[in-house]
Amino acid sequence: MKPILLATVAALALIGVYLAAGGATYGPAEVQDPCEPRVWNEPDGLDQLGQQLALSGIDGAACELGVTREALARALADDQSREEFAAEQGISDEEFENAVRSGLMRMIDDAEEAGEIGGIVALGLRALARVVPAQEAFDLLQDARPLIERGIGAGEGLGVFDENLDGGLSDGLSDGLDGLGEDLDQLDRGPRRFERDLNEAIDGAQSTVEEFLEQLER
């Protein structure tokens, strides 16, 4: 019986050592749940910020669709892969569009939380995300740079004035944007028209504050 005992000890020792070294769990790294918040890497430059925002956006859309961020990122590579993915997962065009808009919202939330954009700009962008045409929403999800360029440009100016007005500007603009959104829902105006109105609202607010500051200086 001694050989049986020795063989059992040798076999168990090997199994024990391999288990202790992680043999039971050695496999490809598991991907993160897209609904969970992801660590925000401090972006360096516009390209990295754009990537970071796009990743947040894809996370949001993937969470809405119940798929992984990685699968959705591959699906968004081109129209064909997007259609194949939608057919495979049984996702309708409307569901896909809604998910992409949710993604844009997550992108804006994450950027605001990370301090990359101010509250006013975030409000404006949220309103924009609700109405931007579907194809542009898909494009923005993959390359958020145009959004940032406009958002940061407007935000830098407006953020300063908002501070001087103790948040009065953001409150006012928030009300105005909500009003614009409601107008849009009610009047069924086109998204480009709304975007123009939004820009006019921001420009208007900016020039109002500029005038106010000039008066203060005088």
């Binding site: 076999a11 043999g23 990685e70 990122a73």
Partner: protein
């Protein structure tokens, strides 16, 4: 006697000699892992099914004639294997090889008994020749595949068959002059149920040890056939050591149980590899090799001992062993391919995550994102993809070059993890099947008929 031992070794080497050539055959014929596994299955299946009838013919018509005819069929089929230009003809030729092999191997024991004067002396030579052939098969096949071609594995067997067959002509002449069918003692023709059942269960482990380890090394970890041949030489070397150690254990049941535990432990070790490192496959292979030597020799000797009618019982042991290999392959291959498909998806997901989260510029990521799917497409759905070419040429910018090199390393690591993990369920199941052989081994004395 030497010629007979060579013939037995050659036939039983064929059960495994082609293992290292399978990835090459798999690529050349653009088939699947399941498809290529039939190159092994067809040979082992006909060998298993024909062994007992071949043994009966050997007793009826004379072992010299049957062995010579078997070797001629084996040689012809080997030539056909070497000249095959599609998978179907290769699988068919392998099946015919198995038929010829069955006749050769079973009749050889009868001839060895006549030549050496007794069963007691003939059985160890017959078992030893088969064990050495089966153990050395993969390494020889790997060397030939690397330095010549997979076809050479079969073509080289033709002259060896002719050399080994020449001395058989004398036996054929003798049998032509005078051959009387030996009388069977009542009850001696029934096979040893427990030993043969245990042999079949333990042999399912051989399929995993030889077939899966090679596929893991070459397809999973992308070793060359020669490097893989070197690595799997651990098994035959350990088998030789195991055969020596086995002589110190007189009780065949203890030897068989010890071997089954070692083989099962080795397979479990292969199923629990903690990293994709070649060196980590060595300790499990040592255990498996030691176990193979002990369990196969003990069970074969038990199945043959004192039963008379050597060829017939040799037929039963060959049948059990190779049926075990076939069942092992049929059981493990679908599990392994399904697991590979799942792991491939996981690896692609984790690879995508690494690419998305890397510090590369958008342009570099987009460029890679366009190249990688082509590499994935090329590898098919049931293969671990190779991604190296997607990174070529590396950019001149040192920072981007370093990032891409790191990314390639990380992605390759994920693929290796996926490959290793894909094999785990099959190895663990094989370990369990081998462990089950302890039941008939434990009951051997009670079930002996």
């Amino acid at each position: 006697m030497a010629a007979l031992a060579v013939a037995v070794g050659l036939v039983l080497a064929d059960s495994s000699i082609v293992v290292l050539a399978l990835p090459e055959i798999y690529r050349q014929f653009e088939t699947s892992i399941t498809g290529v596994s039939w190159v092994l299955i067809s040979f082992n299946l006909t060998l298993a099914l024909a062994a007992v009838p071949a043994a009966a013919w050997a007793r009826r018509f004379g072992p010299g004639r049957v062995a010579a005819l078997g070797l001629a069929v084996f040689a012809g089929a080997s030539l056909a294997c070497g000249l095959s230009d599609d998978l179907t003809s290769l699988i068919t030729a392998r099946a015919v090889q198995g038929l010829g092999g069955a006749a050769t191997v079973t009749a050889a024991l009868e001839l060895l008994t006549t030549s050496l004067g007794s069963d007691r002396r003939a059985i160890p030579v017959w078992v030893g020749a088969g064990a050495i052939g089966a153990a050395l098969g993969p390494a020889i096949g790997g060397l030939l595949t690397e330095f010549v071609s997979w076809q050479s594995i079969f073509l080289i067997q033709v002259p060896i068959c002719l050399l080994a067959g020449a001395p058989l002509l004398a036996a054929v002449r003798d049998e032509s002059r005078e051959w009387t069918r030996p009388l069977s003692l009542p009850g001696t023709e029934r096979p040893h149920l427990a030993a043969n059942l245990a042999l079949a269960l333990a042999s399912a482990g051989i399929a995993a040890t030889l077939f899966l380890v090679v596929i893991l090394l070459i397809e999973g970890w992308q070793l060359t056939p020669i490097a893989a041949a070197l690595v799997v030489t651990t098994v035959p070397l350990s088998t030789l050591v195991g055969a020596r150690l086995g002589r110190r254990v007189a009780d065949a049941r203890v030897r068989a149980a010890t071997g089954a535990i070692l083989l099962s432990g080795g397979l479990a070790g292969l199923g629990l590899l903690p990293k994709a490192l070649v060196v980590l496959t060595v300790p499990p292979q040592i255990l498996a090799g030691l176990g193979l030597a002990l369990v196969l020799s003990a069970l074969t000797e038990t199945a043959l001992a004192g039963r008379g009618g050597g060829a017939l019982h040799a037929g039963w042991t060959i049948s059990s062993r190779h049926l075990g290999v076939v069942v092992g392959l049929l059981l493990l291959t679908p599990i392994f391919t399904a697991s590979l498909e799942n792991e491939r998806e996981s690896a692609i997901d984790s690879g995508t995550a690494i690419l998305l989260d890397s510090e590369l510029s958008s342009a570099a990521k987009l460029d890679l994102a366009q190249r990688l799917p082509a590499e994935l497409e090329r590898s098919g759905d049931r293969q671990i993809p190779r991604i190296g070419e997607a990174f070529e040429p590396l950019p001149d910018d040192p920072e981007e070059r370093a990032l891409l090199t790191q990314l390639r390393t990380d992605l390759t690591d994920q693929l290796e993890r996926a490959a290793t993990h894909a094999f785990a369920p099959s190895f663990l199941l094989a370990a369990l099947v081998v462990l089950l052989s302890l039941i008939p081994i434990g009951l051997a004395r009670r079930l002996e008929l």
